[in-house]
């Protein structure tokens, strides 16, 4: 009995000391981690329009971001909303579909997906839309950029995923993402402004096909996932994207 009591005491002491230590360390590095996450998102946004940030310091990234990007909020009708700030929107992932729900609290009411975040870019001019959805193992999160004609693709970037290295994780590689650059002449709308989106085609051989890019060998589920959620997420912005201003 005495032994058991001693053991319990010892376990409690060790647990207490280690959790205390971790709590102290966690709260002291938390601000740095948060800055890193925000900075990483900004880097991804810049990368989606083709601005290379890999050699820049944190401050330079902030400056570039300010120069290139305007944060906007649009509503379901496709109008730009002035009285809501992008930072008022809470991003919440739907765990089963991987889609991000955008929640705005207004007068005690929760408005879900009524207001959507979008980023306007200058030089190159265009719009950047956050995208997310399921691949094979994980939720892929990224940004998709279209040019100012709201149809030609400018780029795609993924900042979070847990796909198989060498297979699904190839979505992170330059060869895959370069297919969405402006010189590849890929488009998300046809002439009548119907949303075609971009299909990730496993058959490959998509050169000259405006609504398709080459898929990844051995990663059918990831490729199909990108096709599916890209269209789904673009659909939410349809009223904004369809109209040319």
């Amino acid at each position: 009995m005495l032994n058991r009591l001693k053991s319990i005491k010892f376990v409690m002491l060790v647990s207490f000391v280690s959790s205390l230590l971790l709590a102290i360390i966690y709260s002291s590095v938390k601000p740095m981690v948060d800055t890193n996450i925000i900075l990483d998102k900004k880097q991804s946004i810049l990368k989606s329009i083709g601005v290379d940030t890999s050699l820049l310091s944190n401050n330079e990234i902030e400056i570039k971001y300010k120069n290139h990007i305007i944060e906007l909020v649009v509503d379901n009708n496709g109008d730009i909303v002035k009285n809501i700030d992008l930072s008022d929107i809470e991003w919440k992932e739907n765990k089963s579909s991987g889609q991000t729900n955008y929640i705005v609290k207004s007068e005690g009411e929760l408005l879900i997906n009524k207001y959507l975040p979008i980023y306007q870019s200058k030089n190159p001019n265009g719009y950047i839309i956050p995208i997310s959805g399921k691949g094979l193992w994980s939720t892929l999160k990224g940004y998709f950029a279209v040019s100012e004609d709201k149809s030609s693709t400018l780029g795609i970037v993924f900042y979070a995923h847990g796909e198989t290295p060498g297979l699904g994780a190839e979505i992170d590689k330059a060869w895959f993402q370069n297919q969405f650059k402006i010189d590849q002449e890929k488009k998300i709308f046809d002439e009548d402004r119907n949303l075609k989106s971009i299909k990730v085609n496993k058959q490959k051989n998509t050169l000259g096909k405006p609504y398709e890019v080459d898929g990844i060998t051995g990663a059918t589920v990831t490729s199909d996932g990108v096709t599916k959620f890209l269209k789904r997420d673009l659909q939410r912005y349809i009223n904004f994207l369809r109209v040319l201003n």
Partner: protein, 203 residues
């Protein structure tokens, strides 16, 4: 130190992966690229030597019936610690490795050394034992990663080795090497080679 048996034994003769067949899970997971294997080796070296030292320091006070819980708490704390440090100071590396760093907790080598060695030996030897086992683990990890990256992606440490002219003439990377079975095959060959040489047979 190079003559110290505590250090040299786990490098080859008593290697944790090829001889004791521990830590196989991460040997499969992080050996697709050499770079990942190296970072993983550093992370494991930190956790294993630190946990060995701490556990050896308290070995006389840890009650025998709850020792596994205590060891696990110490190891888990160290893993969370290194995960946080990576997130704060090396964010891009941590993004690539985050899941794998967390999985160090389940690496059998860490628990194995804590219970089998650090609980019964002094701090200095436990420290050396930690280093030796980490390097033994890292050695195998890097060898496997070199094979897998070379045959799977035609590169080593991210630098393309196989010339594009070979690809043009019809050479294709072996996709199997990028999947877990590829690691099994390479690892199996290494174990076979070693046991043929040493003549070691499992009872």
């Amino acid at each position: 130190m190079l003559k110290n048996k505590v250090f040299t034994d786990p490098l080859i003769d008593n290697n944790p992966i090829t001889r004791q067949v521990l830590g196989i899970c991460s040997a499969l997971a992080v050996t697709v690229k050499v770079e990942q294997a190296i970072v993983m080796t550093f992370a494991l070296t930190f956790v294993l030597t630190m946990s060995n030292v701490i556990i050896s320091l308290f070995r006389k006070y840890i009650p025998h019936n709850v020792r596994i819980i205590i060891q696990l708490t110490i190891i888990a704390s160290l893993v969370v610690l290194i995960d946080l440090v990576l997130k704060a100071f090396l964010y891009s590396v941590s993004k690539e490795l985050s899941v794998f760093v967390g999985l160090i907790i389940t690496n059998c080598i860490v628990m194995g050394r804590a219970d089998a060695y650090a609980m019964n030996n002094n701090v200095k030897n436990s420290f050396i034992d930690g280093l030796g086992n980490s390097f033994g683990y890292g050695l195998i990890l890097i060898i496997v990663a070199i094979f897998r990256e070379f045959f799977g992606s035609g590169a080593i440490y991210g630098i393309t080795i196989i010339p594009s002219s070979l690809y043009d003439s019809g050479y294709i990377d072996n996709g199997l090497m990028l999947l877990a079975p590829g690691a099994f095959i390479v690892l199996g060959l290494i174990i076979w080679l070693q046991r043929t040489k040493t003549g070691f047979i499992e009872d």
